[in-house]
């Protein structure tokens, strides 16, 4: 039935730095695999729909899509609980979904509506879900790494026995503050996992052009690291489970997830000038995280091809419905301009562009 234990080998072995890697054999269940399939398909579909909405000018500004990288979010969530914390950069839509956010909240945010997860005030780069310990959504490359270490500091301070996953890209991996934060986290044994989503490009820059040493799992020097196939959701799950146990006892660790983004960096980047179409289609054919799970499900005969197609259809409908709903939701009330500047506005006056025309007492 649904809960039968299956043991499946990861695509490739883990490679460890200063640590013995976990086993390649991962336990799962039919139910889990089908959930993976559904959830990753939903993410994929959401991102593709965001692309269309952007082109239709319903989303503006920067918009960074996650399709291709879904296994990282989903595998990570399968290994941890919502009491554990996650923080990431601007490529945050799917991380939000993985943390329990809804499609409606996501689309409404992207369209700047008050039903959005940040009431339309954050936009694509600034999704949050504090109730499940998702701390955003940050636009400054690398800044989320010390922030994540700080959340882990809080977890340790409060003796919560939980951990923080702080996600960053291969480009961000060269930021100095990462090394500062890592040193302190190691000195203080903070329960933090630095998840480097190595999608091999930072904007248009290939990893080897941005880093003398693109072996990101080793870049922590004295901090242990693990290289993981980030396109294999079971490998991600295994690695995150292993890492969570490790950091609770021993302090920080780096997980380098070998992954790939199908879309360009953001909506203004076709994503095809600095890499070949062959490279992209090669990854799609050989390493796609959803197709890998589809094959597993079919080869273990846990479901039929047409049942999986039905799931995909259903996913498509979920997404379409959410978009339709989001479109109906109103823009934020103009008074929201002046809310949330502070938690405690102290009754002070704040000004609009023309201070004699528009001002408000801060709540």
């Amino acid at each position: 039935d649904d809960q039968t234990l299956l043991t499946i080998e990861t695509s490739v072995p883990f490679t460890g730095h200063n640590i013995d890697p976990p086993s390649r054999s991962v336990e799962t269940t039919p139910k889990e695999l089908l959930t993976f399939f559904h959830d990753m398909s939903l993410m994929r579909r959401m991102e593709i729909a965001a692309d269309s909405l952007y082109k239709a000018k319903l989303i503006r500004g920067f918009c960074h899509l996650y399709d291709g990288q879904e296994a990282v979010s989903i595998g990570m969530e399968a290994a941890i609980t919502k009491r554990d914390a996650i923080i990431t950069a601007y490529r945050d839509h799917c991380i939000f979904l993985g943390r329990g956010g809804t499609l409606l909240e996501a689309f409404a945010e992207l369209m700047g509506r008050r039903a959005g997860c940040s009431k339309g005030k954050g936009g694509s780069m600034h999704f949050y879900r504090k109730e499940t310990n998702f701390y955003g959504g940050h636009g400054i490359v690398g800044a989320q790494v010390p922030l994540g270490c700080g959340i882990a500091f809080g977890q340790k301070y409060c003796k919560d026995e939980t951990v923080t996953f702080t996600m960053y890209g291969d480009g961000a991996a060269n930021q100095g503050q990462l090394f500062e934060a890592l040193n302190m986290s190691a000195l203080w044994d903070l329960p933090v996992i630095l998840v480097c989503e190595n999608n091999h490009y930072g904007m248009g820059t290939a990893e080897w052009r941005a880093a003398k040493s693109p072996a990101y799992y080793k870049r922590g020097d004295y901090v242990p690291g693990l290289k993981v196939d980030g396109m294999d959701v079971l490998a991600v799950k295994q690695a995150c489970k292993f890492a969570k146990e490790h950091v609770l006892k021993n302090g920080p660790m780096i997980l380098e997830m070998d992954t790939y983004r199908y879309h360009g960096h953001s909506m203004s980047d076709p994503g095809s000038t600095y890499r070949t179409r062959d490279e992209i289609s090669g990854v799609r054919q050989e390493r796609d995280p959803i197709e890998r799970v589809r094959k597993l499900i079919l080869s273990h005969e846990l479901s039929t091809a047409s049942e999986l197609k039905d799931i995909e259809k259903e996913v498509r409908k979920e997404v379409d419905d959410a978009i339709a709903q989001a479109k109906e939701t109103p823009m934020p009330d103009p008074s929201e301009l002046f809310t949330n500047v502070y938690v405690k506005g102290l009754g002070v006056e704040a000004f609009g562009a023309d201070r004699k025309e528009l001002k408000s007492v801060l709540p």
Partner: protein
């Protein structure tokens, strides 16, 4: 000529004139999303002088490590080169601001003139569209508060060419604040502007439109808005003089004060946060030097005093609009009584 081309040709000509000039920064060569200010320069000057574009294995890109690459740029300037450091946007310059202030602005003074720092820091500044709170800040007031720096902000293609050329030739550190939304805008330019010897003196404002009833000061994109406002005001019989500041530091106090002594009324316009902003300084300067000429309170138009919201309706409320300028000018001319509205 677009502002983009104006900047591009200015870079090109100055690189061709002086082999010590080189570009480094976050403008990404192969990447289509970039603003393309340095287009064509790599082919022409090679990877030794356009150090952002991956062509050979020896070159690399230097995104998102602002502290490091800015420090390297400043060090190269200590050595006597003339680096042009590009920030993808000035928001990211905060990670490097210690080098801009402590390593660049103060060195000539601390060394009593031994270590000059001929460097330009450039890139888009301030609000773009729909990019939210972390990507929309205006740094004009911060940088221009610091002795040792010169701070320029072009509006038109003439400004962009003339000021960038002046900045590159200047022996001091210059912060050069562009505006993403203006890159694609076209401005007519005279043949003189196209001459490779063209440059605009640093520290001088330009009267973009003469007028006698009210002075409007602005820089960057807000100059265009102010000109539009002046157009509208003219229809109402108000003759507005629009001053394009061009240089925020040194600030052209003389031109501003002379204008106010003529019009007796002042509206300051900027997109940045109001407190301790450029408008506040201009107001103080006019009060200090031309108090007895002022016939009405100085009117200040600025970005709303909130982080930049994403939703388009809120965003629109958060930055000055033409009608805000018109309204303020009318108030200054006592054609309107101030309303006490609440949002």
């Amino acid at each position: 000529m677009t502002v983009r081309d104006a900047l591009n040709t200015a870079l090109d000509e100055e690189m061709s004139a002086d082999p010590k000039v080189f570009l480094m920064g976050e403008e990404v060569g192969e990447y289509q999303g970039a603003y393309k200010i340095s287009k064509g320069l790599l082919d022409k000057y090679g990877p030794e002088r356009v150090i952002d574009t991956p062509i050979t294995e020896a070159s690399c890109e230097i995104n998102q490590i602002e502290a490091g690459f800015t420090g390297i740029g400043v060090g190269a300037a200590y050595y006597g080169l003339r680096p042009i450091v590009e920030f993808m946007t000035f928001n990211f310059s905060m990670q490097a601001i210690d080098h801009i202030i402590n390593s660049a602005a103060k060195s000539n003074y601390m060394s009593a003139g031994q270590i000059s720092v001929p460097i330009v820091f450039r890139g888009p500044n301030g609000a773009a569209a729909g990019v939210g709170a972390q990507h929309s800040q205006c740094y004009a007031a911060w940088y221009a508060s610091c002795p040792g720096l010169k701070v320029l902000s072009p509006y038109s293609s003439e400004d962009a060419r003339g000021l960038l050329k002046a900045a590159i030739r200047d022996p001091d550190p210059v912060v050069f604040l562009e505006n993403e939304i203006l890159y694609g805008e076209s401005f007519a330019v005279s043949p003189e502007v196209l001459d490779s010897s063209f440059s605009i003196p640093i520290g001088k404002a330009k009267i973009e439109r003469g007028g006698k009833d009210v002075t409007i000061t602005a820089f960057s994109k807000m100059v265009g808005y102010s000109l539009q406002a002046a157009e509208i005001l003219a229809k109402d019989g108000i003759s507005a003089e629009v001053i394009n500041l061009r240089s925020i530091r040194p600030l052209d106090r003389a031109t501003i004060n002379a204008s106010v002594r003529k019009t007796n009324r002042l509206v300051t316009v900027e997109e940045g946060f109001p407190q301790h902003g450029v408008g506040a300084e201009i107001c103080a300067s006019v009060v200090e030097e031309s108090f007895e000429y002022l016939d009405a309170p100085v009117e200040r138009i600025a970005g709303a005093d909130v982080p930049m919201p994403y939703a388009p309706n809120l965003e629109r409320l958060a930055v000055p609009q033409v009608e805000d300028i018109v309204r303020a000018a009318k108030r200054a001319c006592y054609r309107l009584v101030p309303k006490s509205a609440a949002a």
